[in-house]
Amino acid sequence: MARLRGDFPILDREVSGHRLTYLDSGATAQKPVCVIDAEQEFLTRSNAAVHRGAHTLAVEATDAYEAGRAALARFTGAGEDEIAWTKNATEALNVVAYGFANASAGLGGSEAARFRLGPGDSIVVTEMEHHANLVPWQQVAARTGAQLRWLPLTDDGELDLSALDETVDASTKVLAFTHVSNVLGTINDVERLVARAREVGAHTVLDACQSVPHMPVDLRSLGVDFAAFSGHKMLGPTGIGALYGRSELLNALPPVLTGGSMITTVTREGVEFMPAPQRFEAGTQPVAQVVGLAAAADYLTHIGMDRVAAHEREIAGLLVEGVQRIPGVRLLGPADPARRIGAVAFDVAGVHSHDVGQYLDAAGVEVRVGHHCAQPLHRRYGVTSSTRASAAVYTDREDVDRFLEALAGVRAFFGAAA
């Protein structure tokens, strides 16, 4: 694994006079040269609008675009027509939520009746959700009158499923939850949640942002109804994400963004939409970014997602252990590296996360600070923010060592280690 750092040109740079120690891959990952090259090659050879033209460039571009879809479908265990492109995971989750809202407003015909929500229905989320899989559901609840319910967390950063059967009950129409917490690193028990949702006939919406880049994921065998992930977190470009939906559901969900390339007929009176995935791809799509993302998926496949996961589990173990050894540092999330990924958040007693991050930056160590778009989670653990070191396939022991060495100096510098 050590040799693959050379594939990531940015890792050669310096920060504050030190070797860059990039531990913010949970926010966005760095890109291997093959991803950058794939985009460039596309732009200098085949750039054209897709699904719109009959000319050679348009045909080549369409082929590249659809080959990208096939690559990502393979990578995530989905059917090709089950992957719709979005600009990021947030859009993908909003498309599902607005699909429910649009159905509830009467759009989408009888096909979409299964997505209608109203007073008496409930939507269940967890206390560890990223705002992207939370705020859209709050909004849908507000506009349809459905009730928003929460699955709570245990003190050591796991979902507390002791009251699962009461929370997810016959009223539940949607169970939206993250595969892996972007703060705690916790890997959730998808199987159990899906099983309960099926018992009561609720739709499941999986936030796969932090799983797809870090472990083998097979969406069909997970059995979820919808899922979302982002390109930029899995070594791909910014500007591209994906919505997965079981074919039957994706074809029934009312489209959200409307416009060109997603209609069959537009008259003055009305419109007919294309089947999925096209009905969710209005307007010119991020074509070069799809090409880049496919290169990223191929790169990861070439390494092997099992190896990626094993490597990151090792890094996670080093991070968790190291962080816990430093006095005054409290780990958020499970200590067992088998139950988590290498996104390791912690609280430093007496020092605000922003100051922690600034101090580490002076040592070339780039970590994320703040609420990580998970305010309810932080409130649950009695803090408003935390510091997070997060790994990717290119993270190595030296990164961990540099990070831990710098972290050990934080409290003394800020006069908190009295």
Binding site: H51, R52, G53, A54, A58, V59, T62, D63, I263, T264, T265, M274, Q278
Partner: protein
Amino acid sequence: MSDLAQLYQQVILDHSRQRTGEAALLAPPAGERPEGYGSSHQVNPTCGDEITVEVFAGSAAPVRWQGEGCSISMAAASVASEILAEDGPERFRAAEEAFRALMHSRGRGTADEELLGDAAAFHGVAKFPGRIKCALLAWAAIADALAQAESTSHAEYTEGGRP
């Protein structure tokens, strides 16, 4: 032969101008549809081509269609109509399957000329991924209308158009 000439074989250009089966639709209202009637409307959203087909199972003139589209799609409608009218539904279905396989061969398939007749002239289309849908549109519409026609037909519509 240039790619263009391979795509636009003379047979195709001829069929696109002299169209078998093209005729005003009868479009009987829902209550007045005869037995053995089926119809299908298909659109190619990429280019807006459309076709509406009516099939009359067991009739001597079993297909009528109206369409709007490129020469490939209009010629395909003509050729496919001819096969249904002349060779009957069994052979049509066999030809449709062979035609579909040919189109998806990326230009590497060979056309079964005996089965496909004039439709064999479309083999060059398979090299143009952007045009495959044009060639398939009418086949899909006729197959769909035929399936409906047969499901409403008491008298089994068999070989050669004779019940």
